[in-house]
C-alpha cells in the first residue's frame, strides 16, 4: 500500500466513524423520546377510563377527572381560533399583496417575526395587564382566548404568507388581465388556491394553543374548577393547567392522573400536527 492509499483509507475510516456517530446520535434522540412517551403511557394508561374523562377534579385522586379542563380547553381554543384566524389571514394578505414595498409593510414584517419569538409567558403578562386588569375581563374564558389569539397570530400570519407567496404570479396577472380588481383577485383566486396550506398553518396554531400552559397560569385560570363554562365570562381551567396541578403534588396517585391527562393532551396535539403535515405534504406535490 502506498502513502496515497493509506491516506485514502484513513479518510474513508473517518468518514464511516462520523456516519456511525451521527446515526447513533439520531437513534439516541429518537429512542429517548419514544421511551419517555412509552413511560407516560405506562404510568397513565391504567387511569384512563370514561370515569376519568367525565369527572370533575377531586381531592381524592381515584375519583378525579378532566372534564372541566377538557371543556375549558375546547372553548378557550375555539374562541381564540375564531378571533385570530380572520385577523391573521387579513394581516398576511396585507403584508404579501399590499404592503410589500412600503415601509409600513416592512416594519410590520420584522415586528411579526419578533412576536413569533416572544416567550409565551410574556403574552400571559400582556393578557394579565391588558385584558384581565384594564378591560376588567377578570379570569374569564374571553380574557384567556384573547391572550391566546395574540400568541398564535404570528404562526397564522407566517403560514398564510408562505401560502400566498407560493401562488404563481401568472394567476394574478391572468386575473388582472380579465379586469378583476385586486380584492377580486385575492378573494376568487389567491385564497382558494392557497387554502390547503393556510389550513395547515391554522391547524398547527390550534395545536400550539391546546398545549400552551404558562400564559393562562399568569392570567389566573383556576386549577380547581367543578363546573362547565356557561359563557365567555365564565371562569375556567384548561387541560395543561390541570396536568401542572397534578404533577406539582407529591402523591404518586396524582402523578398517574397527570400521566393519563397527558395521554389525552398528546393524542389531540399529535393528531392535529400529523393531519397538518400530511395535508401539507399532499398539496405541496
Amino acid at each position: 500500500m502506498n502513502s496515497f492509499e493509506i491516506h485514502a483509507l484513513k479518510q474513508r475510516t473517518k468518514d464511516i466513524i462520523f456516519q456511525v456517530t451521527a446515526i447513533v446520535g439520531l437513534l439516541f434522540a429518537v429512542t429517548v423520546l419514544l421511551l419517555l412517551l412509552i413511560n407516560v403511557f405506562q404510568d397513565g394508561w391504567g387511569r384512563l377510563s370514561w370515569q376519568f374523562i367525565s369527572s370533575y377534579p377531586s381531592r381524592k385522586p381515584e375519583s378525579a377527572g378532566i372534564i372541566a379542563g377538557l371543556a375549558g380547553s375546547f372553548f378557550m381554543v375555539s374562541l381564540a381560533a375564531l378571533l385570530s384566524v380572520p385577523v391573521g389571514i387579513g394581516a398576511a394578505i396585507y403584508l404579501e399583496e399590499y404592503g410589500k414595498k412600503n415601509r409600513l409593510g416592512k416594519f410590520i414584517e420584522i415586528n411579526t417575526a419578533n412576536l413569533a419569538g416572544v416567550p409565551s409567558i410574556v403574552y400571559g403578562l400582556l393578557g394579565l395587564g391588558l385584558f384581565v386588569r384594564w378591560f376588567q375581563l377578570d379570569r374569564s374564558i374571553l380574557a384567556g382566548s384573547l391572550t391566546m389569539s395574540l400568541l398564535i397570530m404570528p404562526v397564522i400570519i407566517i403560514a398564510t404568507r408562505e401560502a400566498i407567496k407560493a401562488v404563481p404570479q401568472g394567476i394574478r396577472e391572468a386575473s388582472y388581465a380579465v379586469g378583476a380588481t385586486k380584492w377580486q383577485t385575492i378573494w376568487h383566486h389567491l385564497l382558494p388556491i392557497s387554502f390547503p396550506t393556510i389550513l395547515t398553518g391554522i391547524i398547527l396554531a390550534v395545536s400550539r394553543a391546546i398545549g400552551e400552559t404558562a400564559p393562562l397560569i399568569t392570567i389566573g385560570a383556576l386549577t380547581y374548577v367543578t363546573f362547565l363554562p356557561k359563557n365567555i365570562t365564565s371562569e375556567f381551567t384548561i387541560l395543561p393547567i390541570q396536568i401542572f396541578n397534578w404533577v406539582s403534588r407529591p402523591q404518586q396517585a396524582f402523578h398517574e392522573n397527570a400521566a393519563a391527562a397527558i395521554i389525552v393532551l398528546i393524542a389531540f396535539t399529535l393528531l392535529l400536527n400529523s393531519v397538518a403535515i400530511i395535508l401539507r405534504n399532499k398539496f405541496s406535490r
Binding site: 434522540a29 412576536l115 419569538g117 410574556v122 397570530m153 404570528p154 400552559t213 393532551l265 403535515i277
Partner: protein
C-alpha cells in the same frame, strides 16, 4: 361596416340606460377596494399593537416596581427573596438559574443537533430525510408541560442513580429535557442552512480530492456558519423563555449557583410561582413579575433580532 353602424346606436342607448347603474357599480367597486385595503391594514397593525401592548404593560408595572426598589439593587443584589420577610430584589440568582438551565440545554442540543443536521443534509439517503423531517416536526408539537412531566417524574430519578447527591429538584434534569425539546429546532434550521450551500462548492472540494467528511466539515459547515449560528441563537432564546419544564422540575428556589445538581429558579419559573399564589394586585411582589418579565423580554428580543438578521443575511446571499 353596415352592421357596426346599426349596432352603434343600440349600444349607445344601452350605455345611456345603464349609465347611472354602471357609475354606481364602479363607485361601489372602488369603494370596496378601499375599504378592504383599510381593513387588511388594520389586521396587520394588530401585530404592531401587540408589541406596543407588551412593552407598555411591562414598562408601566416595572416603573412602579423601580419606584420602590432602586435599580442598582435589582442589578447587583445577590439574593432574590421578594416573598419573604427579609426582602431582597437582586435579579442575579434568577439570571444564573436561567443561564444554567439554558446552557445545559444547548450543550445537549447543539452538538447532537449539528451532527444530525450534517448527516441529514450531506449523507442521508433522501427517503430517510423525507421520513425524519415530518417526524421531527410532529415531535416539535409535543406540549412543553409533557416535557416537564418527563423531567420531574422520569429523568430526575434516573439521574439520581448516576449522581446520588442530585436533589429532587435541580437544574440538570430540566436542562437536559429542554435540550431534547429544542433538538428538532436546531436540527431543522441548521439543515436548512447547510442545504443552502451551493453544490459547486462541494464539487470543488471533491475535485481537489477531499473526502465527503472533509467537504462537509471544512467547506459546507464553514460556508453555512452564519446560518447555523442563527439557529443556535434562536434555540438559546427559546430555552431562556421556556417555562413549564423549569417551573415543574427545577425547584423554584432562587439560588446563585453554577452547580447543576441543586435546585434553581429561572425568570420564567418565578413568574409562574407568583401567578399561582394569590399575590394581590398592585403590591410590590406583584410588580416584581413585570420587572422580571421585562428582563426576560429584553434578552429574548436581542437574541431574536440577532438571529433574524443573521438568517436573513445568510439566506438572501443564497447561502455563501
Amino acid at each position: 361596416m353596415n352592421g357596426s353602424s346599426t349596432l352603434l346606436p343600440v349600444s349607445e342607448t344601452t350605455e345611456k340606460n345603464r349609465s347611472p347603474f354602471s357609475f354606481s357599480r364602479e363607485a361601489y367597486v372602488v369603494t370596496r377596494e378601499k375599504v378592504v385595503h383599510a381593513i387588511l391594514m388594520l389586521c396587520a397593525l394588530v401585530s404592531v399593537f401587540t408589541t406596543l401592548g407588551i412593552i407598555l404593560v411591562l414598562l408601566f408595572q416595572t416603573i412602579e416596581f423601580f419606584k420602590e426598589v432602586p435599580i442598582i439593587n435589582f442589578l447587583t443584589d445577590t439574593q432574590w427573596t421578594p416573598l419573604f420577610q427579609d426582602k431582597h430584589f437582586g435579579i442575579m440568582p434568577l439570571l444564573s438559574g436561567t443561564l444554567l438551565t439554558s446552557l445545559i440545554a444547548l450543550s445537549v442540543s447543539v452538538p447532537l443537533g449539528l451532527i444530525i443536521a450534517i448527516y441529514l443534509s450531506e449523507y442521508a439517503p433522501s427517503f430517510l430525510r423525507k421520513l425524519l423531517k415530518p417526524f421531527l416536526e410532529v415531535l416539535a408539537g409535543i406540549p412543553t408541560i409533557v416535557y416537564g412531566y418527563f423531567a420531574l417524574i422520569t429523568v430526575t430519578p434516573l439521574l439520581q442513580n448516576i449522581f446520588p447527591s442530585l436533589s429532587g429538584f435541580n437544574a440538570l434534569s430540566p436542562g437536559i429535557v429542554m435540550g431534547i425539546m429544542i433538538l428538532p429546532l436546531v436540527t431543522s434550521l441548521s439543515e436548512d442552512a447547510l442545504r443552502m450551500v451551493p453544490k459547486g462548492l462541494r464539487e470543488g472540494g471533491y475535485a481537489l480530492g477531499a473526502s465527503k467528511l472533509q467537504v462537509s466539515l471544512s467547506i459546507v459547515f464553514p460556508s453555512a456558519f452564519s446560518g447555523i449560528v442563527a439557529s443556535v441563537i434562536l434555540a438559546f432564546s427559546r430555552a431562556i423563555g421556556e417555562t413549564m419544564i423549569v417551573a415543574i422540575a427545577a425547584g423554584q428556589l432562587p439560588n446563585l449557583t453554577a452547580n447543576p445538581l441543586q435546585p434553581v429558579a429561572t425568570m420564567t419559573s418565578y413568574i409562574v410561582q407568583v401567578s399561582q399564589g394569590d399575590t394581590p394586585y398592585g403590591t410590590l411582589a406583584y410588580n416584581t413579575i413585570f420587572a422580571v418579565a421585562i428582563t426576560l423580554f429584553i434578552f429574548t428580543f436581542l437574541l431574536n433580532i440577532i438571529s433574524f438578521r443573521l438568517r436573513k443575511k445568510y439566506f438572501s446571499m443564497g447561502g455563501d
